[in-house]
């Protein structure tokens, strides 16, 4: 078992593909039955690849709906999933915003839909580059949310997601987000697993009766979604959704463990993945593609003699509160790196808000330094990440705060305005 996901890329069974293509392969490996999609940069090549698969008969029986908007993407996926099929779609930024109404709808219907998100910055001004504000702004929709930080992880996480989403005790939809262009459009070796192995890992496709809680079947007519008075079970239904999220943590851990047993790739406990944290004084919590490069930054800053480590946040929803608390007790200072914004909030970054909120009444937990960088795809270099780590070391040792602390958050990589 190797700790670093990058170590898996040297394998003779792999193929060199774009991150988006890895997402498409995952959908194929999962034998999805209905795909619905609408083009949007940088997600487009996911659906192009799936088109190629379907047109060439590589996904027999799969229905591919090419709709006229993202709102219809998710509406049609909801219709298809409700009728008892495994479904897949992908989008980005504006597309996700346009779907938002249906994003809530999918949760209310408790459908195990998996959606890949090649994340991009919200407009205006137009932006098509990596920024997780799109997926993180869906925070309260009740979708589980995972980040993939490598090409392989996109493929792997989509498979793991089906396993958790379709668990009869969970039945929630899930986003699998990865940085637009940085992962979506670059090529790396990816292991696409044997179908037999994937079949043995995933639950079987839904049987003729469909999901345990919902179906579209004239022999068992079901009315779904009619108006409910405030005195009805609305509030209780909402609690059930939250319950499912809380229960999903154990399921994610289980699914990740089983995945690693069958496929030999390790993603921490599934919720978080620590990297060289065991003897660290300071560390960073980071997610998405920046986490991959941060591993190198950690290695190199360690070579300079500083005990630094990182925690890759793999899930934003459900939020791994317990893991974050445990980690925070082992170090004295944690940077939380957001490539996303939460305007007007405590820190300005969505994940740092979550972390601070998780730790607010935990005695002996680390001090948090919120960091925002890389918005709208702005490059975050290895040197910059090393400097972030050194800054944390200096802050920890001397109490000397870095420059560019604005409203309590370290805004890294801002342009000089004259």
């Amino acid at each position: 078992m190797v700790e670093n996901t990058k170590d898996f890329i040297q394998n003779e069974e792999n193929i060199i593909i774009k991150g988006n293509v890895a997402a498409a392969y995952a959908a194929k490996s999962a034998r999805v039955q209905v795909i619905s999609a609408y083009p949007i940069t940088p997600q487009t090549t996911v659906v192009e690849k799936l088109s190629e698969f379907v047109d060439n008969g590589l996904m027999p029986g799969t229905q591919y709906i090419k709709v006229e908007s993202e709102h219809s993407v998710l509406a049609s996926i909801i219709g298809a999933s409700q009728a008892g099929t495994r479904t897949f779609t992908a989008t980005s930024g504006q597309g996700l915003f346009y779907m938002h109404e249906m994003v809530h709808w999918a949760t209310g219907t408790r459908l195990p839909i998996v959606m890949a998100i090649a994340s991009r910055g919200p407009a205006p001004p137009w932006n098509i580059w990596a920024d997780f504000t799109d997926v993180l702004s869906q925070r309260d929709t009740g979708w589980m949310t995972a980040f993939a930080s490598s090409h392989q992880e996109i493929y792997d996480e989509i498979l793991m997601s089906y396993k958790v989403c379709e668990d009869p005790e969970i039945l929630l939809p899930k986003f699998v987000a990865y940085g637009g262009f940085i992962l979506s459009h670059t090529s790396k070796p990816v292991i696409v697993e044997d179908q037999d192995k994937v079949d043995s890992y995933l639950p079987p496709l839904p049987d003729e009766k469909g999901w345990p809680h919902i179906w579209v079947d004239p022999k068992r007519p079901m009315m779904f979604g009619n108006l409910i008075m405030p005195s009805g079970f609305y509030q209780e239904f909402r609690l059930k959704i939250h319950d499912a999220h809380m229960n999903a943590k154990a399921k994610i851990i289980e699914a990740t463990k089983e995945f690693s047993k069958i496929f030999g790739r390790n993603y921490g406990n599934g919720l978080v993945q620590e990297y060289k944290m065991s003897d660290s004084d300071v560390g960073v919590i980071i997610y998405g593609d920046l986490a991959l490069q941060m591993e190198d930054a950690v290695d190199q800053v360690r070579d300079e003699g500083y005990k630094v480590g990182m925690v890759k946040l793999r899930h934003f929803r459900p939020f791994p509160t317990e893991d974050i608390i445990n980690i925070s007790k082992k170090v004295s200072l944690l940077g939380v790196v957001d490539r996303a914004t939460a305007f007007g909030s405590l820190t300005g970054g969505p994940v740092s808000c979550e972390v601070k909120s998780a730790l607010h009444d935990v005695e002996g937990s680390a001090v948090i330094l919120p960091i925002i960088n890389g918005l709208g795809g702005r490059e975050v270099t290895l040197e910059q990440q090393k400097e972030q780590l050194r800054t944390l070391v200096i802050l920890n040792e001397t109490g000397e705060a870095p420059e560019h602390i604005i409203h309590g958050t370290y805004w890294d990589g801002l342009l000089e305005v004259k």
Binding site: Q33, V34, S36, P60, G61, T62, Q63, I65, K66, V67, E68, S69, H71, S72, V73, A75, S76, I77, I78, G79, A80, S81, Q82, A83, G84, T85, E101, M102, W105, L205, E208, W215, V216, D217, P218, P221, M222, M223, F224, G225, N226, L227, I228, M229, G232, F233
Partner: protein, 313 residues
């Protein structure tokens, strides 16, 4: 046309059950009841936001005795597309189990069709999505309290056109016909057998079918709850609402409307309007314009029909 006796004998089963929450004299109820009688049991219905969400009954009571899904306002046609795709995927996995016999239908109001739903509907039609899309047209946003829709006729009072609507009714069946889908039909709840036959035909055709039903609304239009069918019939007889089918591009006027090509056979427009309070304060100018619009619509149909003679059949 199917005879009443035959129709009643062939479809004694009720799919939209009594005890629902429709207003007395609801046009929608008649439309759905007869549509389902024609379609039969292997039908799954999607309804975007509309009166239909409410009249089926508050949870946990429910009137439809068939698979029925409430859906977001703009999402009807797309959700039915997804269901239809799922039935095909299931027919592939479970052959011989009848999944290939399933019909997905969207049953939407005029707002959910002609306004907020038109993008999804147009997309579904262009893709020839295998479903029957039904618009039950009560000519305003009745569920939210009688606000104007693009399907509200010229001169009609609504709570957002207090001096009468300035624009004319959007001709949605014509827009749908322009998508070159295999079947477009208009119906009136006053002609249930015509409606019955059109739904039977739509079910037998593969691809996207569009059926637009005039379904008068007693509180919204301002007539007595015992007058729904009379009002709907006057809409047809005055030529305000024209019944036809467009099958693979060829238009045929239906029996109730065909004689009205001759203007002298039409009941005066005012007989139809005067039944409804929403036209109580219509200006003379609007009245003239409404009459001109009606005459013009018929002329256009006449021209269309004459051009059609040269179409390859």
């Amino acid at each position: 046309m199917t005879k009443l006796k035959e129709a009643l004998e062939s479809c004694q089963e009720e799919f939209f059950l009594p005890g629902n929450s429709c207003c007395a004299g609801c046009g929608l109820e008649i439309a759905l009841r007869w549509a389902m009688k024609a379609l039969g049991p292997n039908t799954a219905l999607v309804t975007p936001a509309s009166c239909l969400n409410v009249v089926v009954g508050l949870w946990p009571k429910t009137a439809p005795n068939f698979p029925f899904t409430n859906m977001a306002f703009a999402a009807g046609a797309a959700a039915a597309t997804g269901m239809s795709a799922a039935f095909k995927a299931k027919a592939y996995r479970f052959p011989g189990k009848g999944w290939d016999k399933m019909t997905a239908i969207t049953f939407a109001g005029d707002g959910g069709t002609a306004d907020i739903g038109i993008q999804g509907l147009s997309g579904a039609a262009e893709r020839n999505s295998d479903q029957i899309y039904v618009c039950y047209d009560n000519e305003a946003y009745m569920n939210t309290g009688i606000q104007r829709s693009s399907s509200t006729p010229h001169g009609a009072w609504t709570s957002t056109t207090t001096k009468g609507k300035d624009r004319f009714k959007k001709n949605l069946p014509a827009i749908m016909a322009a998508h070159d889908i295999p079947y477009v039909a208009t119906c009136s709840i006053s002609e249930p057998l015509d409606l019955f036959d059109k739904f039977k035909k739509a079910k037998s055709i593969e691809g996207c079918k569009y059926i637009h039903i005039l379904a008068p609304c007693a509180p919204g239009w301002g007539f007595g709850s015992d007058e729904t069918i009379d009002v709907a019939r006057l809409a047809v007889k005055s030529g305000s609402w024209i019944l036809y089918e467009i099958e693979n591009g060829i238009m045929t006027l239906s029996r109730a409307s065909k004689p009205l090509l001759d203007p002298s056979k039409r009941v005066p427009l005012i007989d139809y309007l005067s039944k409804q309070k929403r036209f109580a304060n219509i200006s003379e100018k609007d009245l003239i314009e409404l009459q001109e619009y009606l005459d013009h619509t018929w002329k256009r149909i006449e021209v269309d029909l004459s051009c059609q003679d040269n179409y390859p059949k």
